[in-house]
Symmetry: C2
Subunit: 171 residues, 2 copies
């Protein structure tokens, strides 16, 4: 017996994952697939769907900005980064942000922190790529409001899981 | 600036990860480093310290049982699986469990579900190995009590992070 509902008992956070391309264009998306995987040195894995524009940008520059979303973020704020492609829409146009020295967008509202990562290795997972990264720079932005869990997003905000997510299920 | 406190804003669950060796001996440990990484097919990554006995057993048989711990689990229950090696101690002696058909221990108290995994690929991360696994069998055990997050373990139970964990920090 393989009950796929068991997969919903695994816990995750909710993150803005963004990158910058060779021309300096920025784009980001919402993902739950961010995790520290070693302590010394600090290594962080970020797993993204190959079809996303952010994936394309990461492949160009090897740069990623990860930001945990806080519990005070609205579904509208989250929706701005998810469920649409950055190919036809500037996701950062109406979002408060600044640029890091290497041109990554750092969202300064509804985020706990920013972590600037550099890709060291890419693992091909067919539909997705896991980027294994070192931590280049990191700073707290809101230490008071708790980071949003994926469970909170589903249960409190009634958020959905888009096709393309690592945890997507048809029903 | 690299503020390592930002790493605590990443969210995880808390899991019993166990395996069985070639002689049928079982052992398990506590880990937060379990995550689904692709949807079709379902692939789950489990990252463990190379020095753990469970890591040794997994390398022998390629079999893993992952079980999310529920919020009703006590620090004593969790401590039974963590902070000690199974080399000198039978971690399952006083824990309610049954055996799967391939000899894995399925803990039947304080767990949300069990997921039986088979290792397809191993990624060497120096101190740790990431096992990339397919899902062979899975069943819900407790759909009522929420799965424990790593944050809950730290804040509510005042649980600690052992040396060897992917998220360990010295201070």
């Amino acid at each position: 017996m393989t009950d796929l509902k068991t997969l919903f008992t695994l816990s995750y956070g909710l993150y803005i994952v963004s990158s910058v391309n060779q021309e300096g264009k920025i784009n980001g998306l919402i993902a739950n697939s961010v995790a520290q995987i070693t302590a010394e040195p600090v290594r962080i894995a970020v797993t993204l769907n190959k079809e996303s524009l952010t994936h394309e940008y990461i492949q160009q520059t090897g740069l990623i900005c990860v930001q945990p979303i806080t519990e005070k973020a609205s579904l509208i704020f989250i929706g701005n980064f998810g469920f649409r492609t950055g190919r036809t829409f500037d996701k950062f146009a109406k979002i408060n942000h600044k640029l890091s020295k290497n041109g990554l967008a750092i969202v300064t509202e509804n985020t706990s922190a920013y972590l600037i990562l550099r890709v060291n290795n890419s693992i091909d997972l067919q539909t997705h790529t896991m980027f294994i990264c070192s931590l280049e720079e990191a700073e707290m932005l809101d230490a008071v409001c708790p980071p949003m869990t994926y469970d909170f997003y589903h249960k409190e905000l009634k958020g959905k899981t888009p096709k393309g997510a690592v945890t997507y299920q048809k029903n």
